[in-house]
């Protein structure tokens, strides 16, 4: 049982506690730490790319290694950094925001994390086992299916395993939000962050299976001799592009919608105002999610789909600008008439608005299908998606971490260091990426290992590289802030920012059962309503009683480890069938653990009322 173990305080016990935990708050820590580490790796890869492109005709790294760098940078940042960091936020906040004691499936929550983790580890093992994948994060066939070595195999297996984890996480949060809201919290009283997670989870549910199928086809082609992408045997390489982008475009919204939620919370809190146009914001979120599935082919305007398809996808893509615009204006008018306090969280959010507006505008420019014949696969596109993914998602994650850090770790991040981290990152970001719009238009395709003298691209690239170093500096200061805060800062109160939603009604960090008594929700911004009526906290919706809690389990770790073993078997059985034994061992471990899980009753345990009264939350 997690509490008993935690009290022993040995290092081994600490590790064991995290390996077996099913507590959403600890799983949030796991996601944050591993996502953070992968973020640093992806950042390192980015720095190497920028150093290579510092001057014309540079030979800092070889062409082959460069392709491995860009592939791993993209794959790592999307799947192993951005996704888990967002999952960290979801886990840390959503159950608290809806007044729940845990997620719907605590066991699956843990399984989702470990699958993601081992998938990421497999992918990065490729660096030490003969070379990383080198076909780009989009892995277009047949470049990927014919790529020599095992690099792309690691890509396929790693993403398949971590993708399964993501899918499980998505379903888990859907059910949590549908079934486990506190009494009185109707859908239209849910905080906007919870709403965006709800829509994001739906997108995960419907988008990831397409990637799963794409990866299966690629896996079969590379490892078992099928011919989906072999044109000599009647295969068709465009199928991969469609499957990848049917997943890939919703994925963009999977990344950006949660941070829209974050900004909505931060703007409201630090302007001391209710979110402007709440229902329009909800509507816009749902609409963006829906349209997100209608636009995948705008990544394929130059594939040769014909003018009719290109026109349709151009118009649907432009349509997405409307709900996104609604959001921008609603945020501005949330601040309008408010009392704006420029904390670090607010600083990142305020910086997001012009940055994302630029990213959105270049998005509309890219939607102009014909003009995309010029933009496509150039640095213009690189600039665009870094404006939305760094300027949106990464800014949002930083804002969220500053905002919810006390709820996750019990201390408020140092404000001064927070601002010191912001400025170099913000300035560096614009230095790095603004100029890239022009580099693209001036004729520099993306994924270019080298550009040549006399192409007029040298100055822009140098500026871009200098900017990247500023961004790295910002990240280093942030890491320093994390350490500094842990050592020097005092413990935070339950509600350090005068918050509006339920998570601020309980201690920072919350007790492992979250709410001693489930709160009664009387409207949007539930805590704010109570505070504005002069009350100290939430009115309970139930008398104090026993609390049912799930048991911890090592099985999710074991299952994921089984798949990890089997993954190596799949990759290397191409060279020698002996490796198939690893497949059997790994799958045996997985199925065995599933069998144990299936036949062994797991009824959980109860915290007794008397203990709750006695301990007053200090169990």
């Amino acid at each position: 049982m997690s509490t008993a173990v935690a009290q022993k305080k040995g290092f081994g016990a600490f590790i064991w506690d995290y390996l077996t935990t099913v507590d959403h708050k600890k799983i949030a820590h796991l996601y944050l730490v591993s996502g953070g580490l992968f973020f640093l790796m992806g950042g390192l890869e980015a720095m190497i790319i920028r150093i290579q492109l510092m001057k014309p005709d540079n030979e800092f790294i070889s062409a082959g290694l460069y392709n491995e760098m860009i592939t791993m940078h993209g794959t790592t940042m999307i799947f192993l950094a951005a996704m888990p960091l967002l999952f960290a936020l979801m886990n840390a906040v959503v159950p608290l925001q809806i007044g729940a004691r845990d997620v719907a499936f605590p066991f699956l929550n843990s399984l989702g994390f470990w699958l993601f983790f081992f998938g990421g580890v497999i992918l990065n093992f490729s660096w030490f086992m003969g070379g990383a994948p080198d076909a780009g994060w989009t892995a277009y066939a047949p470049l990927s299916t014919t790529s020599p070595g095992h690099g792309v195999d690691f890509y396929v297996i790693g993403l398949q395993i971590s993708g399964a984890g993501t899918l499980i996480g998505g379903i888990n949060f859907l059910v949590t939000i549908v079934n486990m809201r506190a009494p009185g919290m109707s859908y239209m009283r849910m905080p906007l962050f919870t709403w965006t997670i709800f829509v994001t989870s739906t997108l995960i549910l419907f988008a990831f299976p397409a990637l799963t199928v794409g990866l299966f086809l690629m896996m079969f082609d590379r490892m078992f001799g099928s011919v989906f992408f072999d044109v000599a045997a009647g295969g068709n390489v465009i199928i991969w592009e469609h499957l990848f982008w049917i997943f890939g475009h919703p994925e963009v919204y999977i990344l950006i919608l949660p941070v829209f939620g974050v900004f909505s919370e931060v703007f409201a809190t630090f302007s001391k105002k209710r979110l402007f146009g709440y229902s329009a914001m909800v509507f816009a979120t749902v609409l963006i999610g829906f349209l997100g599935f209608m636009v995948w082919a705008h990544h394929m305007f130059t594939t040769g789909m014909g003018p009719v398809a290109n026109s349709i996808f151009a118009v649907t893509t432009m349509a997405i600008a409307v709900p996104t615009g609604i959001k921008i204006f609603n945020w501005l008018f949330t601040m309008w008439g408010g009392s704006i306090k420029m904390t670090s969280a607010m600083l990142w959010s305020v910086a997001f608005i012009p940055t994302f507006t630029i990213g959105g505008m270049t998005g509309v420019m890219l939607a102009v299908a014909a003009a995309d014949y010029q933009y496509h696969d150039t640095y213009f596109v690189v600039a665009h998606f870094h404006y939305v993914i760094v300027g949106g998602v990464v800014f949002g994650i930083f804002a969220a971490l500053h905002y919810w850090w006390p709820k996750m770790f019990g201390k408020v991040l140092n404000e001064k260091l927070g601002k010191w981290a912001f400025w170099p990152f913000f300035i560096g970001f614009h230095l790095t990426f603004f100029i890239q719009h022009f580099l693209g238009l001036m004729g520099m395709p993306r994924r270019y290992w080298k550009f040549l003298e006399g192409q007029g691209l040298a100055t822009g690239n140098l500026i871009s590289t200098i900017g990247a170093f500023f961004m790295a500096l910002g990240v280093i200061i942030f890491l320093w802030n994390v350490i500094y805060t842990a050592v020097k800062e005092p413990k935070a109160s339950a509600d350090p920012f005068d918050g509006r939603t339920l998570e601020w009604s309980i201690a920072s960090p919350p007790p492992f059962y979250n709410f001693k008594q489930t709160p009664l929700v009387r409207g949007l911004d539930a805590l704010w309503i109570e505070k504005s009526e002069g009350k100290k906290g939430m009115t309970p919706a139930e008398p104090l009683g026993d609390i049912h809690m799930p048991n911890g389990s090592i099985l999710p770790f074991v299952m994921s480890f089984g798949l990890f073993i089997a993954g190596f078997g799949f990759i290397y059985q191409v060279d020698n069938p002996v490796w198939l034994s690893l497949v059997f061992i790994g799958m045996g471990i997985l199925l065995g653990a599933m069998f144990v899980r299936s036949v062994k009753d797991d009824l959980g345990y109860h915290i007794h009322k008397e203990d709750l009264e006695k301990g007053d939350g200090q169990l």
Binding site: L174, V175, N179, L205, D221, L243, G604
Partner: protein
């Protein structure tokens, strides 16, 4: 009240699968899961449709498919769906014995279906040299139908595990949702097969 008492009430509720929060979570979570599975199979169908004429000089669908066996297999699977409905009917009436019997029939029909599928694959491979590797049509056919077959196999193992595990203790609020979602899964597999029968076999035969 201990867990045991809560899960074994004196009077079973009308919908035992949704009587507990865990049960409700499983129920709705599984529906969501089936939504994801739908996209998975839709992607496989899309791939098959894109490659259905890519025979690479090998046999095409019209030449390969015979509808007799496939029709019998369709009937087997449709019937097994019906028998699983009976099983759930008896679950709601708290008649554990009859539920087990009908689940047993479901499993038997599922096994017969799988046998038919194996025979069919074997036939294509040996009579026509139509394999997973011989053409893009082959790759997409075996992947789509094979994924479905894998689902059937997994469903069978799942139902059998549930039947054996709970044989002695009978029905309660802890295992009722488990039986219920296993039967939901079985229906889903059945629906997918109806689409396979139509899109792969009928359209393949008619052209």
């Amino acid at each position: 009240m201990s867990n045991e008492d809560i899960l074994n009430p004196k009077q079973m509720p009308r919908e035992p699968e949704k009587a507990t929060l865990e049960g409700k979570n499983k129920f709705i979570g599984f529906w969501f899961f089936l939504g994801g599975e739908t996209v998975l199979f839709a992607s496989l169908f899309g791939t098959f449709l894109a490659l259905r004429n890519s025979t690479a000089g090998g046999p095409g669908t019209e030449e390969l498919f015979g509808l007799e066996l496939v029709f019998i297999m369709t009937m087997l699977l449709l019937t097994s769906s019906l028998t699983s409905v009976y099983a759930m009917y008896h679950m709601k009436n708290n008649d554990f014995g009859k539920m087990q019997v009908w689940l047993g029939v479901t499993v038997a029909l599922g096994l017969a279906f799988l046998g038919g599928e194996l025979y069919e694959f074997n036939h294509y491979i040996h009579e026509y040299e139509f394999t997973f590797r011989s053409s893009a049509l082959g790759s997409s056919f075996y992947t789509l139908v094979g994924f479905h077959g894998g689902h059937v196999l997994f469903g069978l193992l799942w139902i059998v595990t549930l039947m054996v595990r709970n044989a002695k203790r009978g029905l309660n609020l802890y295992n009722a949702p488990k039986f219920y979602i296993a039967s939901l899964y079985w229906h889903f597999i059945d629906v997918v097969w109806v689409f396979i029968f139509t899109v792969v076999y009928l359209m393949g035969k008619v052209g």
